[in-house]
Protein backbone atom coordinates (compact mmCIF):
# COMPACT_ATOMS: atom_id res chain seq x y z
CA UNK A 1 0.00 0.00 0.00
CA UNK A 2 1.55 3.33 -1.02
CA UNK A 3 0.92 6.89 0.27
CA UNK A 4 -1.79 7.49 -2.32
CA UNK A 5 -3.70 4.42 -1.09
CA UNK A 6 -3.35 5.56 2.53
CA UNK A 7 -4.53 9.06 1.59
CA UNK A 8 -7.60 7.65 -0.14
CA UNK A 9 -8.44 5.27 2.70
CA UNK A 10 -8.42 8.15 5.17
CA UNK A 11 -10.41 10.31 2.77
CA UNK A 12 -13.06 7.63 2.26
CA UNK A 13 -13.33 7.01 6.02
CA UNK A 14 -13.50 10.67 7.10
CA UNK A 15 -14.98 12.44 4.09
CA UNK A 16 -18.44 13.02 2.72
CA UNK A 17 -19.59 12.33 -0.78
CA UNK A 18 -19.79 15.40 -2.95
CA UNK A 19 -20.59 15.89 -6.64
CA UNK A 20 -16.90 16.02 -7.54
CA UNK A 21 -15.74 13.27 -5.21
CA UNK A 22 -15.05 12.87 -1.51
CA UNK A 23 -14.91 16.17 0.40
CA UNK A 24 -13.10 16.65 3.68
CA UNK A 25 -11.88 19.65 5.73
CA UNK A 26 -8.21 20.27 4.99
CA UNK A 27 -7.00 20.49 8.59
CA UNK A 28 -8.93 17.39 9.73
CA UNK A 29 -7.58 15.51 6.76
CA UNK A 30 -3.92 16.45 7.15
CA UNK A 31 -4.03 15.93 10.93
CA UNK A 32 -5.28 12.37 10.53
CA UNK A 33 -3.10 11.68 7.51
CA UNK A 34 -0.12 12.89 9.57
CA UNK A 35 -0.47 9.87 11.83
CA UNK A 36 0.67 7.61 9.01
CA UNK A 37 2.74 9.81 6.68
CA UNK A 38 5.59 12.16 7.57
CA UNK A 39 4.54 15.07 5.34
CA UNK A 40 0.75 15.19 4.96
CA UNK A 41 0.75 18.56 3.18
CA UNK A 42 3.26 17.18 0.71
CA UNK A 43 1.05 14.15 0.09
CA UNK A 44 -1.97 16.38 -0.61
CA UNK A 45 0.14 18.38 -3.03
CA UNK A 46 1.28 15.17 -4.70
CA UNK A 47 -2.37 14.06 -5.10
CA UNK A 48 -3.15 17.41 -6.74
CA UNK A 49 -0.16 17.03 -9.06
CA UNK A 50 -1.30 13.61 -10.28
CA UNK A 51 -4.92 14.82 -10.72
CA UNK A 52 -6.34 12.76 -7.90
CA UNK A 53 -7.35 15.65 -5.65
CA UNK A 54 -8.09 19.37 -5.62
CA UNK A 55 -8.36 22.11 -3.00
CA UNK A 56 -11.49 24.23 -2.76
CA UNK A 57 -12.49 27.11 -0.52
CA UNK A 58 -14.96 26.18 2.15
CA UNK A 59 -16.36 29.04 4.25
CA UNK A 60 -13.36 30.60 5.96
CA UNK A 61 -11.23 27.53 5.44
CA UNK A 62 -10.29 24.99 2.79
CA UNK A 63 -11.39 21.50 1.85
CA UNK A 64 -9.71 18.69 -0.01
CA UNK A 65 -11.72 16.87 -2.65
CA UNK A 66 -10.48 13.43 -3.68
CA UNK A 67 -11.53 13.05 -7.29
CA UNK A 68 -10.54 9.55 -8.48
CA UNK A 69 -13.88 7.74 -8.38
CA UNK A 70 -12.47 4.43 -9.49
CA UNK A 71 -10.06 4.48 -6.60
CA UNK A 72 -12.78 5.49 -4.18
CA UNK A 73 -14.88 2.51 -5.26
CA UNK A 74 -11.93 0.20 -4.84
CA UNK A 75 -11.28 1.47 -1.29
CA UNK A 76 -14.98 1.27 -0.49
CA UNK A 77 -15.08 -2.39 -1.55
CA UNK A 78 -11.96 -3.05 0.46
CA UNK A 79 -13.52 -1.56 3.58
CA UNK A 80 -16.90 -3.29 3.18
CA UNK A 81 -16.80 -6.54 5.17
CA UNK A 82 -17.76 -9.66 3.26
CA UNK A 83 -21.17 -11.05 4.11
CA UNK A 84 -20.88 -13.61 6.87
CA UNK A 85 -21.43 -16.98 5.26
CA UNK A 86 -22.78 -19.77 7.41
CA UNK A 87 -21.42 -22.96 5.79
CA UNK A 88 -24.67 -24.89 6.26
CA UNK A 89 -26.66 -22.04 4.70
CA UNK A 90 -24.37 -21.98 1.67
CA UNK A 91 -24.81 -25.72 1.07
CA UNK A 92 -28.56 -25.74 1.74
CA UNK A 93 -29.11 -22.76 -0.55
CA UNK A 94 -27.01 -24.40 -3.25
CA UNK A 95 -28.94 -27.66 -3.07
CA UNK A 96 -32.29 -25.90 -3.08
CA UNK A 97 -31.27 -23.77 -6.03
CA UNK A 98 -29.98 -26.72 -8.04
CA UNK A 99 -32.50 -29.38 -7.01
CA UNK A 100 -34.59 -31.13 -9.61
CA UNK A 101 -38.12 -29.73 -9.18
CA UNK A 102 -39.65 -33.21 -9.11
CA UNK A 103 -37.25 -35.22 -6.98
CA UNK A 104 -35.76 -32.43 -4.85
CA UNK A 105 -32.28 -33.94 -5.30
CA UNK A 106 -29.32 -31.94 -6.60
CA UNK A 107 -26.25 -33.30 -8.36
CA UNK A 108 -23.31 -33.20 -5.93
CA UNK A 109 -21.01 -32.17 -8.81
CA UNK A 110 -23.21 -29.12 -9.42
CA UNK A 111 -23.29 -28.31 -5.70
CA UNK A 112 -19.48 -28.30 -5.60
CA UNK A 113 -19.41 -25.91 -8.58
CA UNK A 114 -21.95 -23.69 -6.80
CA UNK A 115 -19.78 -23.53 -3.66
CA UNK A 116 -16.72 -22.75 -5.81
CA UNK A 117 -18.44 -19.84 -7.44
CA UNK A 118 -20.28 -18.54 -4.36
CA UNK A 119 -17.21 -18.52 -2.12
CA UNK A 120 -14.68 -17.92 -4.89
CA UNK A 121 -12.56 -20.88 -3.84
CA UNK A 122 -10.88 -23.65 -5.85
CA UNK A 123 -12.56 -27.02 -6.45
CA UNK A 124 -10.58 -28.91 -3.83
CA UNK A 125 -11.49 -26.37 -1.14
CA UNK A 126 -15.14 -26.48 -2.20
CA UNK A 127 -15.11 -30.29 -1.91
CA UNK A 128 -13.57 -30.11 1.58
CA UNK A 129 -16.11 -27.44 2.53
CA UNK A 130 -19.00 -29.69 1.45
CA UNK A 131 -17.57 -32.72 3.25
CA UNK A 132 -17.17 -30.73 6.48
CA UNK A 133 -20.76 -29.47 6.30
CA UNK A 134 -22.11 -32.99 5.66
CA UNK A 135 -20.05 -34.43 8.51
CA UNK A 136 -21.14 -31.75 10.93
CA UNK A 137 -24.80 -31.76 9.90
CA UNK A 138 -25.20 -35.42 8.95
CA UNK A 139 -28.89 -35.51 9.81
CA UNK A 140 -29.75 -32.60 7.53
CA UNK A 141 -29.11 -34.45 4.29
CA UNK A 142 -30.23 -37.57 2.47
CA UNK A 143 -28.44 -39.08 -0.49
CA UNK A 144 -29.26 -41.04 -3.62
CA UNK A 145 -27.26 -42.77 -6.31
CA UNK A 146 -26.40 -41.15 -9.64
CA UNK A 147 -25.04 -37.69 -10.32
CA UNK A 148 -21.79 -36.55 -11.91
CA UNK A 149 -19.50 -36.84 -8.84
CA UNK A 150 -19.29 -39.64 -6.31
CA UNK A 151 -19.49 -38.98 -2.60
CA UNK A 152 -18.28 -41.92 -0.55
CA UNK A 153 -19.85 -42.31 2.86
CA UNK A 154 -18.54 -45.36 4.65
CA UNK A 155 -18.87 -48.04 2.02
CA UNK A 156 -21.68 -46.41 0.00
CA UNK A 157 -21.40 -44.16 -3.03
CA UNK A 158 -23.84 -41.35 -3.77
CA UNK A 159 -24.08 -38.60 -6.34
CA UNK A 160 -27.30 -36.81 -5.41
CA UNK A 161 -28.08 -34.87 -2.26
CA UNK A 162 -31.26 -33.49 -0.77
CA UNK A 163 -32.03 -31.34 2.25
CA UNK A 164 -34.07 -32.96 4.99
CA UNK A 165 -37.13 -31.09 6.17
Amino acid sequence: MDRVDVAYIIGVVLGKEDTDGIRIAYSTYTTTLGKWVRDPDGVVQYLININKAKIVKSGSGRSVILTDKEMMNRINNLLTPKEDTDPLTVVVEGIQKLANPLSGYADIGDVIKYIESRLEIPTKEAEDFLIKVIKFHRGRFVFAHGGSRRLKIGSSYYGLIKVVG
Binding site: N100, S103, Y105, G139, A144, K152, V164
Partner: protein
Protein backbone atom coordinates in the same frame (compact mmCIF):
# COMPACT_ATOMS: atom_id res chain seq x y z
CA UNK B 1 -33.73 -62.88 5.83
CA UNK B 2 -33.35 -60.75 2.68
CA UNK B 3 -36.76 -61.78 1.34
CA UNK B 4 -38.39 -59.82 4.18
CA UNK B 5 -37.00 -56.69 2.55
CA UNK B 6 -38.11 -57.55 -0.98
CA UNK B 7 -41.83 -57.07 -1.48
CA UNK B 8 -43.34 -59.50 -3.91
CA UNK B 9 -46.66 -60.31 -5.47
CA UNK B 10 -48.92 -62.63 -3.65
CA UNK B 11 -47.82 -61.61 -0.19
CA UNK B 12 -50.30 -59.26 1.40
CA UNK B 13 -48.82 -55.79 1.58
CA UNK B 14 -49.31 -53.88 4.78
CA UNK B 15 -48.21 -50.29 4.49
CA UNK B 16 -46.65 -49.17 7.73
CA UNK B 17 -46.34 -45.49 8.55
CA UNK B 18 -48.86 -42.70 8.03
CA UNK B 19 -46.59 -41.00 5.48
CA UNK B 20 -46.73 -44.07 3.24
CA UNK B 21 -50.47 -44.53 3.63
CA UNK B 22 -50.88 -40.86 2.71
CA UNK B 23 -48.86 -41.53 -0.45
CA UNK B 24 -51.16 -44.49 -1.27
CA UNK B 25 -54.24 -42.34 -0.69
CA UNK B 26 -52.81 -39.71 -3.00
CA UNK B 27 -52.14 -42.35 -5.62
CA UNK B 28 -55.71 -43.66 -5.44
CA UNK B 29 -57.04 -40.11 -5.63
CA UNK B 30 -55.00 -39.48 -8.76
CA UNK B 31 -56.38 -42.66 -10.31
CA UNK B 32 -59.92 -41.51 -9.46
CA UNK B 33 -59.18 -38.06 -10.85
CA UNK B 34 -58.31 -39.64 -14.16
CA UNK B 35 -54.57 -39.04 -14.24
CA UNK B 36 -53.31 -41.39 -16.91
CA UNK B 37 -49.56 -41.22 -16.45
CA UNK B 38 -48.55 -41.28 -12.79
CA UNK B 39 -44.98 -41.36 -11.53
CA UNK B 40 -43.83 -42.60 -8.13
CA UNK B 41 -40.46 -41.09 -7.29
CA UNK B 42 -38.22 -42.26 -4.49
CA UNK B 43 -34.65 -43.20 -3.69
CA UNK B 44 -33.64 -46.83 -3.28
CA UNK B 45 -35.49 -48.33 -0.34
CA UNK B 46 -38.13 -45.61 -0.18
CA UNK B 47 -40.94 -48.09 -0.85
CA UNK B 48 -41.83 -47.57 -4.52
CA UNK B 49 -42.37 -51.25 -5.24
CA UNK B 50 -44.25 -51.77 -1.98
CA UNK B 51 -46.56 -48.90 -2.84
CA UNK B 52 -47.20 -50.29 -6.32
CA UNK B 53 -47.89 -53.75 -4.93
CA UNK B 54 -50.24 -52.31 -2.33
CA UNK B 55 -52.63 -51.58 -5.19
CA UNK B 56 -53.23 -55.32 -5.73
CA UNK B 57 -56.81 -56.05 -4.85
CA UNK B 58 -57.93 -52.45 -5.16
CA UNK B 59 -61.68 -51.99 -4.85
CA UNK B 60 -62.53 -50.90 -8.38
CA UNK B 61 -61.06 -51.77 -11.74
CA UNK B 62 -58.27 -54.08 -12.77
CA UNK B 63 -54.71 -53.79 -11.57
CA UNK B 64 -51.84 -55.26 -13.58
CA UNK B 65 -48.34 -55.14 -12.10
CA UNK B 66 -45.24 -55.66 -14.21
CA UNK B 67 -41.76 -56.02 -12.79
CA UNK B 68 -39.31 -55.06 -15.54
CA UNK B 69 -36.15 -56.01 -13.62
CA UNK B 70 -35.49 -59.23 -15.49
CA UNK B 71 -36.82 -58.10 -18.86
CA UNK B 72 -34.18 -57.32 -21.46
CA UNK B 73 -35.86 -54.56 -23.45
CA UNK B 74 -37.46 -51.32 -22.38
CA UNK B 75 -39.35 -50.38 -25.53
CA UNK B 76 -43.13 -50.34 -25.71
CA UNK B 77 -43.20 -53.90 -27.03
CA UNK B 78 -41.19 -55.23 -24.07
CA UNK B 79 -43.24 -53.30 -21.53
CA UNK B 80 -46.70 -54.17 -22.83
CA UNK B 81 -45.88 -57.84 -23.45
CA UNK B 82 -44.52 -58.08 -19.88
CA UNK B 83 -47.70 -56.49 -18.55
CA UNK B 84 -49.78 -59.16 -20.31
CA UNK B 85 -47.44 -62.05 -19.52
CA UNK B 86 -47.24 -61.14 -15.82
CA UNK B 87 -51.00 -60.79 -15.45
CA UNK B 88 -52.41 -63.87 -17.10
CA UNK B 89 -55.12 -64.29 -14.50
CA UNK B 90 -56.53 -60.81 -15.13
CA UNK B 91 -56.35 -61.22 -18.92
CA UNK B 92 -58.09 -64.58 -18.73
CA UNK B 93 -60.78 -63.09 -16.51
CA UNK B 94 -61.46 -60.34 -19.06
CA UNK B 95 -61.53 -62.86 -21.92
CA UNK B 96 -64.04 -65.07 -20.11
CA UNK B 97 -66.34 -62.15 -19.40
CA UNK B 98 -66.13 -61.05 -23.03
CA UNK B 99 -67.01 -64.53 -24.21
CA UNK B 100 -70.06 -64.60 -21.94
CA UNK B 101 -71.20 -61.32 -23.49
CA UNK B 102 -71.17 -62.83 -26.96
CA UNK B 103 -69.09 -59.92 -28.11
CA UNK B 104 -68.65 -59.31 -31.86
CA UNK B 105 -65.85 -58.03 -34.03
CA UNK B 106 -62.19 -57.71 -33.10
CA UNK B 107 -62.88 -58.06 -29.38
CA UNK B 108 -64.38 -61.48 -30.14
CA UNK B 109 -61.06 -62.54 -31.60
CA UNK B 110 -59.29 -61.12 -28.53
CA UNK B 111 -61.63 -63.07 -26.26
CA UNK B 112 -60.98 -66.32 -28.12
CA UNK B 113 -57.22 -65.97 -28.42
CA UNK B 114 -54.96 -68.20 -26.33
CA UNK B 115 -52.83 -66.50 -23.69
CA UNK B 116 -49.71 -67.15 -25.76
CA UNK B 117 -51.37 -65.46 -28.72
CA UNK B 118 -52.36 -62.46 -26.58
CA UNK B 119 -48.80 -62.06 -25.25
CA UNK B 120 -47.39 -62.42 -28.75
CA UNK B 121 -49.86 -59.84 -30.03
CA UNK B 122 -48.76 -57.52 -27.20
CA UNK B 123 -45.18 -57.96 -28.31
CA UNK B 124 -45.84 -57.39 -32.02
CA UNK B 125 -48.56 -54.74 -31.76
CA UNK B 126 -48.30 -53.35 -28.24
CA UNK B 127 -50.48 -50.28 -28.59
CA UNK B 128 -53.20 -52.09 -30.54
CA UNK B 129 -53.33 -54.92 -28.00
CA UNK B 130 -53.41 -52.51 -25.09
CA UNK B 131 -56.25 -50.67 -26.83
CA UNK B 132 -58.18 -53.95 -27.11
CA UNK B 133 -57.81 -54.55 -23.38
CA UNK B 134 -58.77 -50.94 -22.65
CA UNK B 135 -61.90 -51.30 -24.80
CA UNK B 136 -62.77 -54.64 -23.22
CA UNK B 137 -62.51 -53.14 -19.75
CA UNK B 138 -64.81 -50.31 -20.84
CA UNK B 139 -67.40 -52.63 -22.39
CA UNK B 140 -67.36 -54.88 -19.33
CA UNK B 141 -67.62 -51.85 -17.05
CA UNK B 142 -64.50 -52.96 -15.20
CA UNK B 143 -62.58 -49.70 -15.50
CA UNK B 144 -60.13 -48.33 -14.68
CA UNK B 145 -57.36 -50.49 -16.07
CA UNK B 146 -54.40 -49.61 -13.87
CA UNK B 147 -50.97 -50.75 -15.01
CA UNK B 148 -48.02 -50.55 -12.65
CA UNK B 149 -44.62 -50.73 -14.33
CA UNK B 150 -41.84 -51.22 -11.81
CA UNK B 151 -38.10 -50.70 -12.36
CA UNK B 152 -38.53 -49.21 -15.82
CA UNK B 153 -35.01 -47.81 -15.62
CA UNK B 154 -32.45 -48.94 -13.07
CA UNK B 155 -30.22 -45.86 -13.14
CA UNK B 156 -29.25 -42.74 -15.08
CA UNK B 157 -26.65 -44.86 -16.87
CA UNK B 158 -29.17 -47.44 -18.10
CA UNK B 159 -28.50 -47.71 -21.85
CA UNK B 160 -32.19 -48.45 -22.45
CA UNK B 161 -33.26 -45.00 -21.25
CA UNK B 162 -34.17 -43.76 -24.73
CA UNK B 163 -36.34 -46.84 -25.41
CA UNK B 164 -38.16 -46.36 -22.14
CA UNK B 165 -38.72 -42.65 -22.75
CA UNK B 166 -39.97 -43.40 -26.26
CA UNK B 167 -42.43 -45.88 -24.76
CA UNK B 168 -43.71 -43.14 -22.45
CA UNK B 169 -44.11 -40.88 -25.48
CA UNK B 170 -46.07 -43.58 -27.27
CA UNK B 171 -48.39 -43.95 -24.28
CA UNK B 172 -48.77 -40.19 -23.98
CA UNK B 173 -49.64 -39.90 -27.66
CA UNK B 174 -52.34 -42.55 -27.29
CA UNK B 175 -53.89 -41.42 -24.00
CA UNK B 176 -57.05 -40.27 -25.80
CA UNK B 177 -57.57 -43.71 -27.31
CA UNK B 178 -56.73 -45.44 -24.01
CA UNK B 179 -59.19 -43.42 -21.95
CA UNK B 180 -59.66 -46.00 -19.19
CA UNK B 181 -56.00 -46.97 -18.87
CA UNK B 182 -53.77 -45.50 -16.18
CA UNK B 183 -50.04 -46.13 -16.30
CA UNK B 184 -48.06 -45.87 -13.07
CA UNK B 185 -44.27 -45.97 -13.26
CA UNK B 186 -41.58 -45.90 -10.58
CA UNK B 187 -38.51 -43.71 -11.01
CA UNK B 188 -35.31 -43.21 -9.04
CA UNK B 189 -34.15 -39.60 -8.49
CA UNK B 190 -31.20 -39.94 -10.87
CA UNK B 191 -33.51 -41.18 -13.63
CA UNK B 192 -35.79 -38.18 -12.98
CA UNK B 193 -32.72 -35.93 -13.37
CA UNK B 194 -31.82 -37.67 -16.60
CA UNK B 195 -35.31 -37.29 -18.08
CA UNK B 196 -35.42 -33.62 -17.09
CA UNK B 197 -32.19 -33.09 -19.00
CA UNK B 198 -32.81 -35.10 -22.13
CA UNK B 199 -36.58 -34.90 -22.65
CA UNK B 200 -38.30 -31.84 -21.27
CA UNK B 201 -41.56 -32.71 -23.03
CA UNK B 202 -42.04 -35.97 -21.19
CA UNK B 203 -40.64 -34.44 -17.98
CA UNK B 204 -43.34 -31.77 -18.06
CA UNK B 205 -46.00 -34.46 -18.47
CA UNK B 206 -44.55 -36.55 -15.66
CA UNK B 207 -44.39 -33.68 -13.19
CA UNK B 208 -48.15 -33.13 -13.57
CA UNK B 209 -48.84 -36.54 -12.09
CA UNK B 210 -45.96 -37.23 -9.74
CA UNK B 211 -45.89 -38.57 -6.22
CA UNK B 212 -42.65 -38.17 -4.32
CA UNK B 213 -42.27 -40.77 -1.59
CA UNK B 214 -40.78 -39.69 1.73
CA UNK B 215 -36.98 -39.90 1.57
CA UNK B 216 -36.78 -40.86 5.20
CA UNK B 217 -38.95 -42.18 7.98
CA UNK B 218 -40.64 -39.45 10.01
CA UNK B 219 -41.17 -39.57 13.76
CA UNK B 220 -44.76 -40.80 13.50
CA UNK B 221 -43.76 -43.52 11.02
CA UNK B 222 -41.02 -44.75 13.34
CA UNK B 223 -43.47 -44.78 16.22
CA UNK B 224 -45.89 -46.98 14.30
CA UNK B 225 -43.23 -49.38 13.03
CA UNK B 226 -41.73 -49.64 16.50
CA UNK B 227 -45.15 -50.47 17.90
CA UNK B 228 -45.70 -53.12 15.22
CA UNK B 229 -42.37 -54.76 16.09
CA UNK B 230 -42.73 -54.24 19.84
CA UNK B 231 -39.68 -52.03 20.24
CA UNK B 232 -38.82 -50.38 23.56
CA UNK B 233 -37.86 -46.73 24.15
CA UNK B 234 -34.14 -47.53 24.37
CA UNK B 235 -34.12 -49.18 20.96
CA UNK B 236 -36.23 -46.38 19.50
CA UNK B 237 -33.81 -43.71 20.67
CA UNK B 238 -30.91 -45.78 19.32
CA UNK B 239 -32.61 -45.84 15.92
CA UNK B 240 -33.39 -42.13 16.08
CA UNK B 241 -29.72 -41.39 16.63
CA UNK B 242 -28.83 -43.04 13.32
CA UNK B 243 -30.16 -40.08 11.33
CA UNK B 244 -32.56 -40.14 8.38
CA UNK B 245 -33.44 -43.74 7.41
CA UNK B 246 -35.30 -45.14 4.45
CA UNK B 247 -38.27 -47.37 5.22
CA UNK B 248 -36.32 -50.37 3.96
CA UNK B 249 -33.44 -49.59 6.31
CA UNK B 250 -35.86 -49.25 9.20
CA UNK B 251 -37.58 -52.58 8.47
CA UNK B 252 -34.13 -54.16 8.10
CA UNK B 253 -33.07 -52.79 11.49
CA UNK B 254 -36.23 -54.28 13.01
CA UNK B 255 -35.39 -57.67 11.61
CA UNK B 256 -31.69 -57.71 12.43
CA UNK B 257 -31.71 -56.47 16.02
CA UNK B 258 -30.48 -53.09 14.78
CA UNK B 259 -27.51 -54.28 12.76
CA UNK B 260 -26.49 -51.01 11.09
CA UNK B 261 -23.85 -52.58 8.88
CA UNK B 262 -26.13 -55.24 7.43
CA UNK B 263 -28.81 -52.63 6.84
CA UNK B 264 -26.49 -50.24 4.99
CA UNK B 265 -26.90 -47.39 7.45
CA UNK B 266 -23.98 -45.04 6.88
CA UNK B 267 -22.75 -44.11 10.30
CA UNK B 268 -19.10 -43.94 9.30
CA UNK B 269 -17.46 -40.58 9.80
CA UNK B 270 -15.31 -41.23 6.75
CA UNK B 271 -16.60 -39.12 3.86
CA UNK B 272 -14.70 -38.42 0.66
CA UNK B 273 -15.35 -37.26 -2.88
CA UNK B 274 -14.01 -39.32 -5.75
Amino acid sequence: MQRILVPNRGSRIKLLGPSWRAARDKLLTMIDEDYQLITIIGRAGAGKTTLLLSLEGMEHGIYMYADMTEVKGRDLSAIVSTVFADNIYEVRNVQEKLRKMNIKGILKAFAKASLDEVVESARLKPMETLKLLNDAVEILDMKPLVIGVDEGLLSQDDPRAVDFINALHAFRNNMQALGSTKLIITLLPDVVNLISKIDTTIFDILRLGAITLPDYVAQEDLKEVAQEYGLGPTEISKIESLGPLTMRQLICLMNTKIDVIKCGVDTAGEISIE
